[in-house]
């Protein structure tokens, strides 16, 4: 374990803005995109004829 305290970890010894700015942007992008795509799939599937396709 590299960190002596939570404070140490959060500040990344002075590089917190850059490290968390990078990880945060990736997390944001990789959370929003799947939700967006799944929503798109749901929308299309809801337009399909109910009887055959949404059973």
């Amino acid at each position: 374990m590299q960190w002596t305290s939570v404070q140490d970890f959060l500040t990344m010894r002075g590089y917190g803005l850059y490290v968390w700015g990078s990880f945060g942007a990736c997390a944001l992008g990789m959370l929003i995109e799947p939700l967006w795509v799944r929503q798109r799939l749901r929308t299309i599937q809801s337009r399909l004829p109910k009887r055959e396709l949404n059973g």
């Binding site: 990344m12 850059y18 990789m30 798109r40 004829p49």
Partner: protein, 247 residues
């Protein structure tokens, strides 16, 4: 010797590919979550502090996977484009269209994380360096592909136009990759290459490769989901969509 012939084109039709993609998405999603969690654990908690860059180097665990993926996705787009133009297969165009937004996301994340890494290390968010500039061009190529396709109503014509752009733009990928060797760049050379031993600590390399695999699994899961959307959108009125129970 069994004379069963492998039917390579079995999954070349949207109707057979759609359920296959549906079965694969959960596996790749789960794999992505596991690998990224493992990679984050190594990257943030196990890998040691870097002697020169202190904790700032930890950005490598997202910057390199995103950069690799942004280049690789464009190569896959070019592959499907060539196949689509050669065999006139509908699914090729659909897959190419499904890849572009995810490629654009990772090209952007590569530029973003690179800028956040460059500021503390180089003192600048951006420099017109060969590597950064060619990566920016890649990002614009992705946006250009998406804009081109949405500007053409007929999907098949949009596929062909997009395929040409993807094939022309693929020349940019080796430029990005070799830019650090061809030109005198601020961006560092390859720490990992197929021809020589990696120039980074083993644990750092391990964490980075695990994150890269996690990013790839994520991309496969999202692209397969998006291609299912495109298949349904384009084939909404076709018989197989009406006849089949689509899960």
């Amino acid at each position: 010797m069994s004379n069963s012939v492998i039917n390579w084109f079995k999954y070349a039709s949207p109707a057979t590919f759609y359920p296959l993609a549906g079965r694969l998405v959960p596996w790749f999603s789960g794999l992505a979550v596991l690998l990224i969690a493992w990679g984050l654990w190594i990257g943030l908690f196990v890998a040691p502090t870097d002697a020169q860059q202190s904790e700032g180097y930890r950005i490598i665990f997202v910057h390199v996977p995103a950069s690799w993926l942004s280049m690789f996705i464009y190569c896959v787009m070019a592959f499907w484009s060539a196949l689509g133009l050669a065999f006139n297969t509908r699914l090729s165009g659909m897959l190419t269209a499904a890849l572009a937004p995810t490629g654009a996301l990772f090209a952007f994340l590569s530029l973003w994380t690179g800028a956040l890494w460059g500021k503390p290390m180089w003192g600048a968010w951006w420099v017109w360096d060969a590597r950064l500039t060619s990566q920016l061009i890649l990002f614009f190529l992705y946006l250009g592909f998406i804009a081109l396709q949405s500007a053409i109503d007929d999907p098949r014509r949009a596929d062909r136009a997009g395929a040409l752009l993807a094939l022309v733009g693929v020349v940019n990928i080796p430029i990005i990759y070799f830019s650090v060797q061809w030109w005198n760049t601020l961006h560092q050379g390859a720490s990992v290459s197929l021809t020589k031993a990696p120039s980074m600590a083993h644990i750092m390399l391990e964490g980075m490769l695990i994150m890269a695999l996690g990013f790839w699994s994520y991309a496969i899961a999202v692209v397969l989901t998006r291609v299912r959307c495109i298949i349904l959108e384009r084939e909404l009125t076709s018989e197989w969509v009406k006849r089949n129970a689509v899960d």
